[in-house]
Symmetry: C2
Subunit: 529 residues, 2 copies
């Protein structure tokens, strides 16, 4: 007699995944509840912790020979939904470690306390199998299911009867990777997207270009990467590369938001686009070095219009990140043409007005591409007029953040990164510091707090590349993942340590070199070097 | 007309490698000196910097088809020297990236400005091809040779005529790896031995066991790892594993010094060896927990005698590290039998006398195995009577170290690790801090300073395992490598940055995920994830 476990995935329609609802038609009572050895937490190895979990002692076995993931009767998505079929394959492989060729013998039958079927019920009227994820979509129940499966002492795959209701606390849960300070091979980006899915992150903030290099190969302005990348062939992202990243992310419910940061952080742009940057002066003569984007030339805005038109078609997400941080005024101050322009405009000595002048024009340009935009907090601080749907990205300050109060008081949607700069490393278990952050810990009304849609862990690229990025990011970023997903009350650091230890070994077993929390071991150690 | 580069490797006889002495019979003057693109330092990518380097503009090409490494006429080592043959293969592969099957055509001839032969002249009367390296031996000229080879703009392998005299400033240049807090797969250990050779480290200090686990599989006491390892099959070093590590190291001129740290740091020993550890008391009753090795039982010393007899035969090096650090007296203080013993011995309340009592007996035992010993500084501090050839390992304090003065004033040989605890990580370029250390920066006579035979970079295992060890160690440990090898005056941090940047890319190219120093790129990025 086989048992069917039914669970429901609500995709998109409700904006959250209503988790695992298990209906056991019957089960064998005499079966002993088997606890996986390494699970010290009563929540096993679940990470991030779902909103509600009720685990029973009843355990069922799973066989790679008989187990099926099927579309439930009435599901709005069927076998033609490649997104779902890809997810089935991925999680079958995670659970069973690869395909089982055939049943061991012809007389083999399913066992008495065996789970043979997982029904996936998509209730969204629009299954969006070919669409792109947005801030209101989510799909992560299969990950939760795979986290419930464990090996008993005989190595048999088992799962305990568990009732789960799940949805994320925050809709925007991101990781920022920086491919300018060091180029990251596509393989590294994909591995981290894979790991993001294991941690239910759903936004890849691709800080794709910056001062040191411009690896984005633009169809419209190919000279940008030809001149501005570390190497025009081996250190660029071709249109096919970008497409692959976006599709790989889409299949895992991850949005890709590119950042093209201006007017500062643009040294590499200037190499392939003459006159884009401001010439700095040393006394009465140009010094030969360049500053931020030149905001006083029409050609600048013509360039930006064409460039962001391309960007808006290459990246399907509804948002693009426009940067706007850390603009150094010294070069502008040195340039006589800029001074003249300042006088004409009546900006006086206030160069933040010039900055705002530029950003305002840029935002208007991007608005015509029908994209929403995200910007770093300085743009808001400088009083630039923003569209109501602008997302302000807070990065200055620590855990308890005044700026969050200001931004939300002004009615803007915001995301938090200030306490989650993972490039700042230190000795010991710094994941605990990230974990203890409460994103809504600022003075503000309930309405203000609703404007906080999430946060991002940022791994800036000065000190990371393909050699060390993945172990430095994981499981430290997992702490941020749980903070953004789980209920506010989930703050037990010991329980978190126990679950995260097992979760990190699961990442290792899935081929990701996630570094250890502390002295310990994984049953299956990382095999790479 | 081909050119022969002759260079001399002085193995063992003189205790140092007299580097590369190039004798060009003739060369073509009209050849332009070709500078490799990424070499900003006048010393190219040499790391650690040899004692004397004189590079000319004259460049010669090397072809994988014709280039030969041969034993020079009169060399005391021939084709039967497997150590040398292995080194030839290794460096041929580093230089040419694998074997070239055959010459491109039958009419192919060596070019006019081509280097076709490297003659290796072993002058040591005892070539020691089957022996083990010791504190007086060295072999690293082939590494230097390989660092001189670069690719010109057409990808052709080239080398500039260079005169080099080289020898290390300090004889003991070590890396400590800790396989107890996390088990390190053999593959990881070998990869790091390989990298040590690239950096001319010559001592692998194998901190093999400690509190958390006992992965050393002892033939005499197999229950030690059966009970004390993380897992008795997957997380142990079998005799064959240990042998492989020692042989792999030997072929690279690296000594393997194992550390079996007692009487503290021994929690894992107690699991497989009943009565070895001191039972701690809570009031009048044993608490169930255990402290350091029990120094008052004869069985303890009988065990140690047998155990170190095995260790001395398994590890061929002339030294074994006996630990002796961080002994916690609380458990001893709680135990009534220990108290009684203290009274009998007249130790009063001075538990460091008990510690010394134990260590003294242990040292006597190890002396009977004909091994020298290294010990952590506390053993010296506590006034234990040491053999004259004892090496005291200084780990407490920072760069300028009083303890170094004390130890050498007492006439003991010493090595320094205090400023080189690489497990302490921080944001930024901390390699510079390691680089700036001057090991002889303490008050003492010239004779005292001569007693400093070197140092070790220590990577304790709390936060590293196979997932992140290699990129965390390299190139940070390379800074220590140069400090211990190069002349005292080699302190130009900018020049070091430039050379080390290229050196780290060379490690990456050779398959080692050495992390970046700062925003940059390597021509061939690391392909792993």
């Amino acid at each position: 007699m086989s048992t069917t476990l039914k669970f429901t995935v609500l995709l998109l329609a409700l904006g959250f995944c209503q988790g695992l609802q298990h209906n056991y038609d019957n089960y064998i009572e005499e079966e002993e509840g088997v606890e996986p050895v390494s699970q010290a937490s009563k929540y096993g190895s679940l990470w991030p912790l779902p909103q509600k979990v009720q685990t029973s002692e009843v355990s069922l076995k799973l066989s790679g020979f008989s187990f099926k993931i099927v579309d439930a009767k009435g599901s709005s998505a069927g076998p033609s939904c490649s997104l779902l079929q890809n997810a089935y394959r991925r999680y079958y492989e995670y659970v069973f470690g690869g395909a089982k060729k055939q049943k061991p013998s012809k007389t083999w039958r399913t066992g008495p306390s065996e789970l043979t079927e997982l029904q996936v019920w998509i209730t969204s009227p629009d299954s969006e199998c070919d669409g792109f994820p947005s801030v209101t979509s989510d799909e992560s129940c299969l990950e939760t299911f795979s986290q419930l499966v464990y090996e008993d002492e005989y190595g048999a795959k088992s799962i305990n009867s568990t009732a789960i209701i799940d949805f994320p606390r925050f809709a925007h849960r991101g990781i920022l990777l920086d491919t300018s300070r060091h180029f990251l091979p596509i393989k590294v980006i994909l591995a981290n997207l894979e790991t993001m899915a294991m941690n239910k992150f759903n936004v890849f903030h691709w800080h794709i270009v910056d001062d040191p290099s411009f690896p984005y190969l633009s169809r419209t302005f190919p000279q940008l990467s030809q001149q501005g990348s570390y190497h025009p062939y081996t250190h660029v992202y071709t249109p096919a590369d970008v497409k692959m990243v976006i599709e790989f992310a889409r299949l895992r419910g991850i949005r890709v938001i590119p950042e093209f940061d201006t007017p500062g952080h643009t040294q590499s742009w200037g190499k392939g686009q003459p006159d884009l940057l401001t010439p700095c002066y040393s006394g009465a003569e140009p010094s030969g070095s360049f500053g931020p984007v030149n905001p006083i030339l029409n050609t600048t805005y013509e360039f930006m219009e064409q460039f962001f038109k391309e960007v808006s078609s290459v990246f399907p997400d509804a948002y693009v990140h426009l940067g706007g941080d850390e603009v150094d005024f010294n070069c502008w101050k040195s340039n006589p043409d800029i001074k003249k322009f300042m006088d004409q405009q009546g900006f006086g000595q206030d160069y933040s007005k010039l900055e705002s002048f530029y950003i305002q024009k840029l935002l208007d340009i991007v608005t015509t591409t029908k994209k929403g935009y995200m910007i770093w907090q300085e743009v808001f601080d400088n009083g630039v007029k923003l569209k109501p749907d602008t997302v302000v990205h807070v990065w200055i300050g620590g855990g308890s953040n005044e700026e969050m109060g200001k931004v939300t008081a002004a009615g803007y949607t915001t995301i938090l990164s200030a306490p989650w700069y993972l490039d700042y490393i230190s000795y010991g278990q710094d994941w605990q510091r990230y974990y203890k952050v409460e994103p809504l810990n600022f003075n503000g009304t309930e309405a203000q707090k609703k404007l906080v849609i999430g946060g991002e862990a940022c791994l800036w690229g000065e000190y990371v590349d393909g050699t060390n990025l993945t172990p430095r990011l994981w499981p430290r970023a997992s702490a941020v993942a749980e903070r953004l997903w789980s209920a506010k009350e989930v703050t037990d650091i010991n329980d978190a340590f126990n679950r995260l230890s097992v979760h990190r070994c699961r990442m290792v077993e899935r081929g990701i070199p996630a570094e250890p929390l502390f002295s310990s071991y994984c049953p299956r150690e990382y095999k790479g070097v």
